[in-house]
Symmetry: D2
Subunit: 287 residues, 4 copies
């Protein structure tokens, strides 16, 4: 495929790949519809040794947000009750000694799913919903809560992709950052990733989701000056493609290289954030 | 068993059930050690039809926190970017139209795991760790992040419990609240639940975790005036028992009643909240 | 004056009272322009005995927000460092023992100023600014920061109002709530307050600001079904009137009743919240 | 004075300068007791031309917190309602068009007062209060709310200091940062400031408060390796000295240089943050 990426290519891809109404006019989950119950049963047979890999990164102040994009910040974890209070006998009036805490985070600041209401094309979100339905109260449509039991199926880290797969793309970008001990421009800067034309491939393959160890799955710098993240412009609002970002893949990838098995049971439940543009997650790959 | 619940019974149970050093002096995950890889493989065989049940409740301002306990509040979801901004052309300088958001929540405010550093007995946490290691910076030991790939195995909703099971106790308490349309005293008030003596049963059965549709698993009012949540005093700091609370069980229970199968594959990954006293979750029961 | 309050009366008042361009096309502070330097000098002469009254209410979880309006919540105060940590020697690596904290609050949740970008009429804010300039990034115009050194002048609690005065209206509503020990519908419910026609009076008197011990200065229930807070519709976007709400007036009022002096030096500096719709404050009345 | 700064000097100064019980065993405001009503009346006479200077810095993400100290972060301002929502007709069900917002900030992250419970010496806070009274619930004693109507008096920017003065020390450090367009190590790094021995001077002069355009008033690097901020160790817990930090002084200083008048009416009310270690402020200097 030889595409000159730009506003025109985005419009063409939008027209060709639009899945609006494909799964009903009220559909909220897009390509997750590709996963059928029998796929989950089949995926379960990939659990052969009971090894479990956590694909989330830690949620703390050492996270990747360095201020390049949209006011995002790293998670802020604060205590409501501490062990030091306990031993200073500050809690004994309540006859229990405990610790408790809060977390404030950007929903898309670490390992996460994008919800389908995260990106718009012109005035529309996926399935033709008006963008104005996403207001200061949150996503009145297309919020992440609709996928609450949909993030289960076959995970694949390499070639031979099938319908309904959770495709995981490892670029090594995060591992380089972790090795170097600094995130630098990881969140919002240049990165390896899929090209714009990948939108056609995802549609043809009928993947359930595409996930990556980068900030935004697609290659950066952008392939055009006319749009920021041109692949996003198409895959979310037109196709309703489920996307996972900032996945930690080191241990899983090493294991796959060792046993030569690049498929596994995948389970990455989102939190039920009502009206959320996505959800922080810790997906599990089980072999 | 006929136990007079109180400080003395707590001390006795602590002495008898203490699992400190059982899995090594640096152990951070307690009873999750009961799950063996072969259990996970076997549990996978329970995935027979591909039905997935989400056991989390929504994270929003309609949650159960009504101020009864410890300054906890319901999740606060706020937008960083909206569709209304998009259509008002406020984002076009950046050549992308999108929505983005933040979430502030009490880690234990909705469906969640307790971490082992959540409860102390006198000056100690599980495995003998000093309670002072849990300070305003969070849990320097026994944080939820240590269980990042450990919440996978067989789930059971009824009798016939085996070693390494994730035991789920349905009392119907949450369903009553949801039916009545109000949480009332759900968070911190009276509730059905396990009795103090259940700590002996959990130890004997070698369960991986115990989860419930109530705020605190154990029965309330407390069985004694000498301690608040006496069962907690033992099962977390002495035994290192993994505990899940505020699980949504309605749909799963109805399905089990229908097909008569009360066991399933269970996958409930915590977020990697560094030093967290627990994690909000949306556990998956897969049949 | 006999006004039938409604959309038509709002339109008429808007047309008659509009102060757009009155203080220049870039003006950001509206009626605060009525205060002249000589007024401040004169007000200083009202400081006769050195008694200072704080007009703010406490910022904590006992505040008036009970969920009636717009997702507002009471302030959440959390510690970053504690004395219990200090005595448990958790801070000594840093060679200092200290306490530190954070505050999360709704800008308009307790005693506060409204900024002029807080209310719109149709698609416009004060001085003709397009409402779309107030987006998810905050108030790009008419933010509270523009009044950073403008909240100083003569305060008056009773009749004889002059140009540039900070007029304080005491209804006793807050004092009743405090006496009863509960806020009830204080924030967003029924309340005594000024009638719609008061907008004409404020314009004629050239007051700098109007402040009250209620949630919204104007009377509730609204005088019409056609608009919520009809007086707000006019005084902020058309007139640019500075407004202070939820003022604590008990001690000041008692003092004024005692000495018969109802005027004082007033100093109520807002925080410089860049793009804020207002600011929490603790105004000072000095006699 | 020739002091070898270190733990011993701190102990000596503590012994000599301790103001515990000086103003009663329940005193919560320390050196603010030096201000007498007649001082306020006299200070009012310094208001001669009605010029008002705001000494606060903006509260936004461009603030000075760069992560050097204690997990502090810059203010996070988020909208609850926007003008873009308003013009998209998302609010019209409520018959009012408006903007609303929240602010999350570190209490000591920008221009602020320190409360007397902010710093401990060994196990004690000012006036002999046990440090354990400052726990995860906040400052149960010595919180900033106690100074709610006490931050009023004569301000001075230069020599000739009197009892009860709010002494303002301008080093030019902030102005250099603002000129260079970057905060660098402003918050927690090296800085000009008062020497340790200044604690004796403050006691002798009976100042009400000392304020500066730096992060911590005292000189950095510390004058000793034995303590971090040795002057703080004495002036807050022993003396109960009121301290203001990160003051913006450029415009005030220029004005004083121009008219040769370095004294003014000072009014810097704290917010009533119940149990706060301090308060963000926007102090006013009025001439």
């Amino acid at each position: 495929m030889d595409i000159k990426v730009g506003r025109q290519a985005i419009q063409e891809a939008t027209d060709k790949l639009k899945n609006w109404d494909r799964w009903g006019k009220d559909d909220q989950i897009g390509t997750l519809n590709h996963v059928r119950p029998e796929d989950i049963v089949k995926a379960a047979s990939l659990i052969r040794t009971g090894r479990v890999f956590a694909l989330g990164i830690p949620l703390d102040r050492t996270g990747p947000q360095t201020g390049l994009f949209g006011g995002r910040f790293n998670p802020i974890h604060q205590m409501l009750a501490t062990g030091t209070d306990a031993i200073a006998e500050r809690q004994d009036w309540n006859k229990i000694r405990y610790a408790d805490d809060t977390l404030m985070l950007c929903v898309q600041g670490a390992t996460h799913w994008d919800a389908l209401g995260h990106i718009f094309y012109e005035d529309k979100a996926y399935n033709g919903y008006d963008a104005k339905l996403i207001d200061a109260n949150g996503l009145n449509v297309l919020g992440i809560e609709h996928s609450k039991n949909k993030m289960v199926g076959r995970g694949v880290l390499k070639v031979a992709i099938g319908r309904g797969d959770f495709v995981i793309v490892r670029t090594g970008h995060m591992e380089r950052c972790l090795k170097e001990g600094q995130w630098g421009g990881y969140a919002g800067g240049d990165a390896p990733g899929v090209k714009f034309e990948n939108c056609y491939w995802c549609q043809e393959k009928q993947v359930a989701a595409i996930c990556s160890d980068t900030w935004g799955v697609e290659v950066r710098p952008n392939e055009t000056k006319e749009a920021n993240q041109p692949w996003h412009w198409v895959v979310i609002p037109a196709m309703g493609l489920c996307m996972g970002e900032i996945f930690y893949l080191k241990e899983l990838a090493e294991d796959c290289a060792k046993d030569g098995v690049y498929e596994f049971f995948f389970c990455g439940p989102p939190l039920l954030i009502t009206g959320g543009t996505g959800s922080p997650i810790n997906p599990q790959a089980i072999k």
